[in-house]
C-alpha cells in the first residue's frame, strides 16, 4: 500500500487555510474531537476521498530507500551473518563415567580483518576468526571445557559470565601470545550469558571483537521455537572512541538486505546480547508486534510484554514473540542514530514456510534432546 500523496494544489489549499485564520486553538479543538481532518476536508484543504490526489511520486521521493549502504559484503570464508544467526555450537560431547555430559570446544584467538560494512574492513581481534565468537550452547549441569590457544599478537583471556570458581573466571591467568589455557567448569545457572576477553585495557579488547554468546539451557528445555542469536555490536573503525558502524551480528544493515524469514504465528525466540562498547546502552525495537522479555533468560515464568527493550553493556535477554500478520516487520535499535548507522533489519513473516526455509525450529524437550 502506497501512502497517499498530496498534490501541489492541495498544499496550496492547506497553506491558504492556515492563512485564512484557522487558529491554533480551533485546530487543537477539532483534533481533540477527531474532526480536524473532516474540517480541513470541508474547507477544501484536504481531498475528501483518499486517492483523488494521486500525483506520482517524484524522482526524489524515495529517501526511505536511499538511506543505507552501497554494495554487499563479500564472502568471508569464516563468518556469514545469515548462518551465524541460527548457528549454535554444542561442542564435542562425551559422557563421563559418572554419567555427566562433557562438552569441549577449541578456541583460538586470531588477529583478522573483518568486513563490518560493504567495503569497510576493521582490524579485529577474534575468537576463531569470527566476530562475534561462536555461540556456545549447553544445558545446566554440563561440564564445560574450553581449550584456548592465543595465536594473536596481544595477551588475551576468555571471561565467562555465570557461576564458576574464580580461577576459571578468565580474569586470570592472562594467556600470552603462543600460550594455551583450558577453562573447565560446570554450566550454571541456566539462562543467557556471554563471554569476552578480560585483558586490560578492557575496552579495547572487547571492542576489537573478542566476545560471544553463551547459552545455558534449563534442564527441562524451552518450548520449541524458531531460534536465533543476535549480538548487538558496534565498531569504532577510526579509533576515535566513538562507533562508526552499528549492527546485530557485525554486518551493518545485513538483515535489512537479507530479511530473516519466519512463519506467521510461529513462536520465535531471540537470544539477544549487548556487547556494544563506548555507548552505555543499546536497544531492540520490534515493529508491528510485541515480544516477551525474559530477563537474562533465568526465569521462564517471569516476563514483560513490550516492543522496546533497553540494555546496558553486557546485558542480555531472551525475547519471544509470534508475528500475527504476513509481511515485513522491521527491527532496530530505538536509538535512531544506531539504527541509521547499521543496526536495522527485517523479519519477513510468511503464511506458510516451506520445510527448510527460514529460521529452523529447535525443540528442546530437556536434556535428552541435546547434542
Amino acid at each position: 500500500m502506497k501512502p497517499e500523496r498530496l498534490s501541489r494544489r492541495d498544499w496550496l489549499k492547506l497553506g491558504a487555510a492556515g492563512v485564512a485564520g484557522v487558529s491554533g486553538a480551533t485546530v487543537l479543538d477539532l483534533a481533540s474531537r477527531g474532526g480536524a481532518r473532516d474540517a480541513l476536508a470541508a474547507s477544501g484543504a484536504l481531498p475528501r476521498e483518499p486517492g483523488t490526489a494521486g500525483a506520482p511520486a517524484g524522482p526524489h521521493g524515495g529517501h526511505q530507500e536511499a538511506m543505507g549502504i552501497v554494495g554487499m559484503p563479500g564472502p568471508d570464508g569464516v563468518f556469514d551473518p545469515a548462518a551465524f544467526l541460527t548457528d549454535f555450537d554444542y561442542g564435542d560431547v562425551t559422557t563421563r563415567a559418572d554419567g555427566r555430559v562433557v562438552r569441549r570446544w577449541e578456541f583460538v584467538a586470531l588477529d583478522r580483518d573483518i568486513e563490518i560494512a560493504p567495503g569497510v574492513f576493521f582490524p579485529a581481534w577474534t575468537y576463531n576468526g569470527q566476530v562475534p565468537g561462536p555461540t556456545l550452547r549447553c544445558t545446566e549441569g554440563d561440564i564445560l571445557q574450553v581449550a584456548f590457544v592465543n595465536a594473536g599478537s596481544h595477551p588475551h583471556t576468555i571471561h565467562f559470565h555465570g557461576t564458576h570458581p574464580p580461577e576459571m573466571d578468565g580474569f586470570e591467568p592472562i594467556v600470552e601470545p603462543g600460550q594455551r589455557f583450558t577453562y573447565e567448569f560446570e554450566a550454571k545457572p541456566f539462562g543467557l550469558h556471554l563471554y569476552h576477553c578480560h585483558t586490560m585495557p578492557l575496552k579495547r579488547h572487547i571492542h576489537k571483537g573478542l566476545y560471544g554468546t553463551f547459552i545455558v539451557d534449563p534442564p527441562e528445555g524451552r518450548e520449541p521455537a524458531r531460534e536465533m542469536v543476535m549480538v548487538m555490536n558496534a565498531f569504532d573503525s577510526n579509533l576515535d572512541g566513538d562507533n562508526e558502524v552499528y549492527a546485530v551480528n557485525t554486518s551493518a544493515f545485513y538483515y535489512q538486505h537479507h530479511p530473516v524469514r519466519v512463519g506467521v504465528g510461529d513462536l520465535c525466540r531471540i537470544y539477544l546480547v549487548n556487547t556494544t562498547e563506548f555507548d552505555l546502552i543499546n536497544s531492540f525495537h520490534l515493529h508491528a508486534g510485541m515480544f516477551k522479555v525474559f530477563r537474562t533468560g533465568t526465569r521462564p515464568d517471569q516476563y514483560e510484554l513490550t516492543d522496546t527493550i533497553m540494555m546496558c553493556q553486557g546485558e542480555r535477554h531472551v525475547l519471544e514473540f509470534r508475528l500475527e500478520n504476513p509481511g515485513m516487520h522491521m527491527f532496530h535499535a530505538h536509538q535512531s542514530e544506531f539504527a541509521e548507522l547499521g543496526w536495522m533489519g527485517f523479519f519477513e513473516a510468511v503464511e506458510r514456510l516451506a520445510a527448510g526455509d527460514g529460521v529452523p525450529v529447535r525443540g528442546h524437550g530437556g536434556r535428552r534432546n541435546h547434542a
Partner: protein, 413 residues
C-alpha cells in the same frame, strides 16, 4: 687541477659544458631509480597502516533532495571511498569514477538526501580501512547555477564591490590636482597605509583559506608561488614599463624624478591598478563563495565592506598621477583593470569554489600589493627630497591603516 682547467680551454664553451650541466641530473635520476628499485623504506611501510587523507572541497545542492560532494585525495597514497554517512546515517551514493582515488585524483559523489534549507549538515566519508573524513556544511542552500539570473546577480555584486567603488575613488583626482605638492605626498603615504593593511588582511585570508586545501596540493607552496611570483612578476613588468616610458634604466638613482615623469607616474598608477585587480579577484572569490555557501548575511556585509574598502583603492590609483594630466580614457582603463576582476572572482567563487584556487589567488593578490607599496614608496622618495617619513607622511600612513581598520570592521560586523 690547474692542469685540467687549462686543458679545457676557454671554459663554458663547446659541447663539453652540456655534459657538465647534465651530469648532476643524470646522477640524480640514477639515485631516484635506485631508490624505487631497491625500495629501502619497505620495512617501515609494512609496519604502518596506510596513510589516507581525503578532503571534501565543496558540497553543492543542485536541487531539493540532492547533494553533490566534491572529494579530492590529498594523501600520499590511493584511498577507497567505501561508504558515506550524512548526519550520522549511512546514505547511498553514486560516484562518477572508480571509488579508489589515486593521489590527487578527485571524484564527485551524488546522494539523494533530503537536506534541509538553512540547516547544518555533516558529511562523513568512510574509507575501506574504516577511517573517516568529515565536512560540515554550516548552512545548506540551493547552489547557484550558471544561468543568466545568477550571472547577472553575481556580476552586479562584483560591480558594487569592485568596479563602482574604484571609479568613485578615482573621482578624487580633480581634488588631488588642486592641492599642494606636500599634501599629495601625504595622500600617497595614506595610500601606503591603506595597502599595508590590505597585505596583512589578505595574508590572513590566505592562511585561513589554505586550511581547507587538501594536503597534497601543498598550500604553503601555493602561497609561496603566488605571493613571491606576484612581487617578482610585477616588478619585472614595472621595469619593462619604465623602459618603454623612456625613464632610462629606472635604477636606484635619485635624481631622475624630472625626466619622463608623466609616463612614470602613469606607469605606477597602472601597476597599482593591476595589483589591486589581482587582489580584487580574491575578494570576488570570497563574495561569490559566501553567497553560494549560503552565508548570505556574510555575503552582504562583504559587499558593503569591500565597497568602502575599494573606494580607497581608487585613491591609491590616482595619487601617483596627481601632478600629471593623463587622458581621461586612462582612468576608465585603470578603473576597469582594478575593479572588473571582482566580477570574475564573484562568478568563479559562486559557481565552483575551490579552496586551492582561492588560496593561490589570495596569495597572488597579497604579493601584488606588496609590490605596489614598493612602487609608491619609491615614487615618494624620488620626487620628495625631504624623505619618505616626514611627520606629515607618517601621519598619512598611520591614518591609512586606521581608515582600513575602520572599513574592515564593516566586513566582519
Amino acid at each position: 687541477m690547474p692542469d685540467s682547467r687549462s686543458d679545457a680551454g676557454p671554459r663554458g664553451q663547446g659541447p663539453g659544458r652540456w655534459v657538465l650541466g647534465l651530469l648532476p641530473l643524470a646522477l640524480l635520476a640514477g639515485l631516484v631509480a635506485f631508490f624505487f628499485g631497491a625500495d629501502p623504506t619497505a620495512p617501515f611501510r609494512d609496519a604502518f597502516p596506510p596513510v589516507e587523507d581525503l578532503t571534501i572541497e565543496r558540497v553543492s545542492f543542485p536541487e531539493s533532495g540532492v547533494m553533490r560532494v566534491h572529494v579530492v585525495n590529498g594523501g600520499p597514497e590511493a584511498a577507497t571511498i567505501a561508504q558515506v554517512i550524512v548526519d550520522d546515517a549511512y546514505w547511498q551514493f553514486e560516484i562518477d569514477r572508480d571509488p579508489t582515488l589515486p593521489r590527487l585524483a578527485s571524484a564527485t559523489l551524488e546522494l539523494d538526501y533530503p537536506w534541509v534549507e538553512g540547516e547544518l549538515h555533516v558529511i562523513r566519508l568512510v574509507t575501506s580501512t574504516g577511517l573517516t573524513f568529515d565536512h560540515e556544511v554550516a548552512v545548506a542552500t540551493l547552489s547557484p547555477r550558471p544561468n543568466a539570473l545568477y550571472l547577472t546577480t553575481f556580476g552586479l555584486l562584483g560591480l558594487y564591490a569592485g568596479v563602482l567603488p574604484v571609479l568613485i575613488g578615482l573621482l578624487w583626482y580633480p581634488f588631488l590636482r588642486r592641492i599642494d605638492r606636500k599634501w599629495i605626498h601625504f595622500y600617497l603615504s595614506l595610500t601606503v597605509g591603506l595597502l599595508a593593511f590590505l597585505v596583512v588582511d589578505a595574508l590572513e585570508d590566505t592562511l585561513e583559506t589554505s586550511a581547507l586545501v587538501a594536503e597534497g596540493f601543498q598550500a604553503a607552496g601555493l602561497i609561496a608561488v603566488g605571493f613571491i611570483g606576484a612581487i617578482v612578476g610585477l616588478r619585472a613588468l614595472g621595469n619593462l614599463g619604465r623602459g618603454m616610458g623612456g625613464a632610462g634604466s629606472g635604477g636606484e638613482g635619485s635624481g631622475s624624478a624630472g625626466g619622463g615623469g608623466a609616463s612614470r607616474g602613469l606607469t605606477v598608477a597602472y601597476l597599482i591598478a593591476i595589483s589591486i585587480g589581482l587582489h580584487n579577484l580574491g575578494e570576488g572569490l570570497a563574495i561569490g563563495a559566501a553567497f553560494s555557501l549560503g552565508e548570505i548575511a556574510l555575503g552582504s556585509f562583504l559587499v558593503i565592506g569591500f565597497a568602502l574598502h575599494n573606494t580607497t583603492e581608487g585613491l591609491a590609483i590616482v595619487a601617483p598621477v596627481a601632478d600629471r594630466r593623463p587622458a581621461l580614457r586612462h582612468f576608465a582603463f585603470m578603473g576597469g583593470i582594478a575593479g572588473l576582476p571582482t566580477v570574475l572572482g564573484a562568478w568563479a567563487g559562486g559557481f565552483s569554489y575551490s579552496p586551492t584556487l582561492a588560496t593561490f589567488f589570495l596569495a597572488l593578490g597579497a604579493g601584488a600589493i606588496v609590490q605596489v607599496i614598493v612602487e609608491v614608496t619609491r615614487l615618494i622618495r624620488k620626487s620628495w627630497p625631504q624623505g619618505v617619513f616626514t611627520p606629515l607622511n607618517a601621519t598619512g600612513l598611520l591614518l591609512g591603516l586606521l581608515v582600513m581598520y575602520g572599513t574592515a570592521l564593516m566586513v566582519t560586523a
